[in-house]
């Protein structure tokens, strides 16, 4: 009875009995796979990975170098910018100072010009006034002589003319005209 129960199990011992044929197939197929992978696959993949690693390393180095260069240039540019700003400030300062000086000079010159023009105008007025007064005196003298000759119906000699003119001029007051001209 026991053997009858164990018969099915015994008949299924293939599960734990190594199949020699499969063992041979396995080792052959595995060995062929190993041979091909070792020869034609692993070296290529290894080389590709090494190359990529080298490329990446190179790119990292180059990026680090570029960054250093960029930082150096940035520093340089900042320095130059600072210098340029300082120079610009200095130029502006100098320009401002120069403008102040020029303004002061121009004002001074203007003031001098005005004063000079005023003096010149005064001189010209005085000359013109004097000339006008002389003309007026001469006119008065001529009129006086002419009036006297008509009244007396005789021609006055030179001494009478001079005496008459001086008397007439003494009686005329030119001070008002003279002072008015000065005021103008």
């Amino acid at each position: 009875m026991l053997s009858a129960a164990l018969t099915p199990l015994a008949s299924r011992s293939f599960l734990i009995t190594p199949n020699v044929g499969i063992m041979i197939w396995t080792i052959v197929v595995f060995a062929v796979s190993l041979f091909i992978l070792r020869r034609a696959v692993f070296p290529q993949i290894g080389k590709a990975l090494d190359d990529r690693a080298k490329t990446i390393e190179g790119e990292i180095d180059s990026a680090a170098h570029a960054r250093e260069e960029a930082e150096r240039l940035l520093g340089e540019y900042r320095e130059r910018l600072k210098e340029a700003r300082e120079q610009a400030d200095e130029i502006v300062q100098r320009a401002r100072q120069s403008a102040d000086v020029h303004e002061k000079e121009a004002k001074e010159r203007g003031r001098e010009t005005v004063a000079e023009a005023t003096k010149r105008a005064q001189r010209e007025i005085e000359v013109a006034t004097k000339r006008a007064l002389d003309d007026l005196r001469r006119e008065v003298a001529d009129l006086t002589i002419m009036a006297t000759e008509k009244v007396t119906r005789k021609t006055l000699d030179e001494a009478d003319q001079r005496r008459l003119v001086e008397e007439a001029l003494r009686e005329l007051d030119f001070s008002g005209i003279s002072s008015g001209a000065h005021d103008n």
Binding site: L15, P18, I22, W25, I27, S33, V41, A48
Partner: protein
């Protein structure tokens, strides 16, 4: 019509209250409920249609049918002494996919890789790190290809083991008169021969390296852990010798048992348990668990077992030449 029914709707958020969330479920939740409903409805349907009384198939009752029979290697044809079966087919598919993908990628390596190249490069880098961490430079250069091949070969073997293929020649179905093997998920390493020969190769290699590096006597002595002296050596030494040989068995059984148990579990949960107990309801009831185990096995176990085998190979090889 009532006054309430004719009243305008109250705007959300009126009166300081925050606007209420849109009523209804998310799409994922809807799908979840629909699947759950279909599953429960299916259970009820099976109860109504087939009842809850077991009706075993005569083949099952007479012990003619067994789920493990799927893993039997029936010879399909022979060429001289070489016989072909589904184990051989899976080995050839494994080699074809492994070499095809790896050769395809290695011939088209680009500076800017595509997805497949990224995956292959990730695998290569992972295997390389695994080797470097456990082996010295000379050993690493020598054994990296072996470790990487073990990793990828077992990984591909495991992964294609979760694709249903018409390889179950024990159970066939007819299409236009032709007997087509029924679909099955099978992996070459569900046969103990596959992991055994690989483990045996690893065992021979690390023993060879150990003997080459230390000499035969010193190698055997190196199996002893450091700091053990005195009479306890007599006790520890046989254990260490035994554990050295047990590496061969543990390496074999870990891979084989995990894969075989995983495939059996998926088969049981995917319907075979229902066939064994003669109750269709059980098959339907266990189906979600079968899908969950399938996902777990395919996503985690396939990669994990390949990784464990490969890293243990690296550790054993590294340990063999290590000086205590």
């Amino acid at each position: 019509m009532s006054a309430v029914a004719g009243a305008p709707p109250i705007a959300p958020g009126v009166g300081g209250a925050p606007p209420a969330e849109k009523p209804g479920m998310s799409t994922a939740r809807k799908i979840g409920y629909a699947v759950l409903g279909a599953w429960i409805g299916g259970i009820l349907l099976f109860v109504v249609l087939f009842g809850v009384t077991a009706h075993k198939d005569p083949d099952v009752a007479n012990n003619i049918f067994s789920p493990v029979d799927e893993f039997k290697l029936d010879t399909w044809f022979k060429i001289g002494p070489i016989s072909f079966n589904k184990g051989v087919l899976y080995l050839l598919i494994t080699a074809g996919i492994t070499l095809g993908v790896m050769l395809y990628i290695s011939q088209r390596l680009k500076q800017r890789p595509g997805r497949l190249q990224v995956a292959v490069e990730w695998f290569y880098d992972f295997a390389r790190r695994m080797s470097r961490e456990n082996l010295d430079e000379g050993m690493e250069r020598k054994y990296f290809p072996l470790i990487a091949t073990i990793f990828v070969f077992i990984l591909v073997t495991n992964l294609i083991g979760y694709i249903p293929l018409p390889v179950n020649s024990g159970e066939t179905f007819k299409v236009f008169g032709a007997h087509i093997p029924s679909l099955q998920i099978y992996a070459a390493d569900t046969n103990v021969a596959f992991p055994l020969i690989l483990a045996l190769s690893v065992f021979v290699l690390f023993t060879y390296e150990g003997v080459k590096h230390h000499g035969p006597i010193r190698y055997i002595k190196s199996l002893m852990p450091g700091g053990v002296s005195g009479p306890i050596v007599g006790l520890i030494f046989p254990i260490e010798i035994l554990s050295n040989f047990l590496r061969l068995i543990s390496l074999t059984v870990r891979l084989w048992a995990n894969l075989l148990a995983g495939h059996l579990l998926i088969a049981f949960m995917g319907g075979e348990l229902g066939v064994l107990v003669g109750l269709q309801l059980v098959s339907w009831f266990l189906l979600p668990f079968g899908i969950a185990i399938f996902m777990f096995e395919a996503v985690l176990i396939a990669g994990l077992q390949a990784f464990i085998f490969a890293i243990l190979t690296a550790i054993y090889l590294g340990g063999a030449v290590e000086s205590h």
